[in-house]
Amino acid sequence: MTALSDLVFKTMATQAFRLAAASAAAFLVVSALIVGTLFWQTNTLLTDHVVDELRGEAAELAREATGSDPVAFAERIRLRSLTTGSSLYFLSDSAGKKLAGNLRSVPPEIADSRTGGVIRFERDGDPLGIERTGVAIPVTVGSSQRLFIGRDIEEQLALAARIKRTFLWGFGALAFAAVIAGIAVGRSVLHRIETINATTRSIMAGDLSRRIPVKGSNDELDELAQSLNGMLDRIEQLMNGLREVSDNIAHDLKTPLNRLRNSAEAALRDSRGEEAYREGLEATIEKADDLIKTFNALLLIARLEAGVVEESAEEFDLGRLVCDVAELYEPVAEEAGLALTIEAEDGIRIRANRQLVGQAVANLADNAIKYSAQTARGPAPAVVSVKAGRNGASAQFSVADRGPGIDAKDRDRALRRFVRLEKSRTQPGTGLGLSLVAAVARLHHGAVRLEDNDPGLRVVVTLPLAAQTN
């Protein structure tokens, strides 16, 4: 019982039920008005017809009475009364004695009336003496006689009653249907919202993988569920990203921090004294510098991902910048036994932060040299190829190496912050180089693509060309 009343209460408390109830009420009021009007109209029509007929006959009889002898007139009324039908007559002399007619007596309701009205009557010849309903009016037929004519309206009344009953039943059925529909809609909406609620609660409790079921009916609630699911997907993605980043921060910052601490400790324990302290301090500073580098790169990426660089954006020639930066690395490549080739088109104007794009080129060149150096001992000198050019409506630069490359399945991951593929974990570096490149590209509405250089890796960065200005 409590469960049921609970459900009823809950259903009644829903917005959907309230809406359904309100619309049902409005519907009922309107249909009551329509039904009432119809009934009233029908009734009036029926009554008016009877009354009009009566008046016509009254006028006719009044005319006949003025020109004829009272006995003959009484005879005429008597004849009329004999015809079966709904017509009623009662003719009396001035003393009230019945002269002719099919009514047993003067209906008391209209005995003194000048306009007539509804009467209860018994027919003169009716052996059962059933009381019936009719309407009657007085007719002026001279001073010696009194005439009432009327109509039996029992049939009209029965018709009206049937119409009324039909209307009332219809109205009742409508009201019932409206209430049932309201409750049904309320319950189904309530049920689906309850599902959304339950899912949300379990997500809040920590199960981020839960999703709200979609019915597939493409209605508003489905749309809501889909939007919420989309939002949950995004949140889960961000949470995973965050977790991955913190895991990697833990690894990439904790390890060097630990090494730093170890070297300081070792120096302190060293019995050689001052010389050992000095060496230890130098090593400590060096390690701290590496940490700072990692930290700065991390901050920079975070800021790039958050921000805009309108203030420091300038228009410049991408080809020249790429050449410049590549030239900076040329001697480094040469020392590593690599050949560094540069090809750049002229006049590729882009609008960007020159320092950041330079940093991106530098990171790619540095990576390419670092990873090619391992394989540089082959017969032919490995080549690091740096190119800048146009690709349709975009500017593009690429750095390709002959290093170990990155497997197709790892390429997406490699662009993410802090991800260092297992192979390269042992390599020096912050592990942020590629992610910084990706962040720079994203900031400038560009993109980074990792391709197979067969063998090796080619990183292609596309950036929008500067808008044509005169």
Partner: protein, 256 residues
Amino acid sequence: MRGWAASMYFNWDEAGAAMVLADVLEARRTMRVLVIEDDRETAHFLQKSLKESGHSADVAGDGETGLEMAQSNTYDILIIDRMLPRLDGLTVVKTLRTEGDRTPVLILSALGDVDDRVKGLRAGGDDYLTKPYAYTELLARIEALARRAVPEEQETRYAVGDLVLDRLSHRVTRAGEPIQLQPREYRLLEYLMKNAGQVVTRTMLLENVWDYHFDPQTNVIDVHVSRLRSKIDKGFDRPLLHTVRGAGYMVRDGAV
């Protein structure tokens, strides 16, 4: 003071980097520095280090005090933190500049935003250093700044020992012998010679010779400097391009 250059270049391990640096710095002209920094420990560290480097330093703990001190005293250089209580660093710089004070300013900042450097320089700062920084970097920069502030006639010729760089003809000679340099090598040498006798850090070279304000990952600068060195010092008894360990490079004729 005798033999300091030799010890700097050849006898690293015996002399020790810090000692050598101290020797080098002792030979400098003394600067009067105002440090506007709200972190007491940092301020104290700077004051102590600058004193050890042969300079004198005053400290102001907030922007208002710093501005007053800068207005009422004459300093060779101002080191201003960006985030200061009462009056922020950029406003201090702007105020000084609108008053016509051209004292060189080095802005320190814990922020490292892409636009921060631009904002700092636009406010009137002469150089910008992001925390955390190495003291040697800061020292090299303020010394370069202080030197730049001294009005000098546009020199057309730099000479260190027997190494001569002619800025008009872009010719470089050592002991009268012409040396062929790539354009970039020429600019590298030009910058080093312009700051002859002073430590120039790798970052300063990257910023001033290449105009890059980013971390080049590897020590690319070292490779470029060693190439330059092989061209100007190879075959000569007296090296002129010295590595200052833990700091950077310096062009100096040891005997001067």
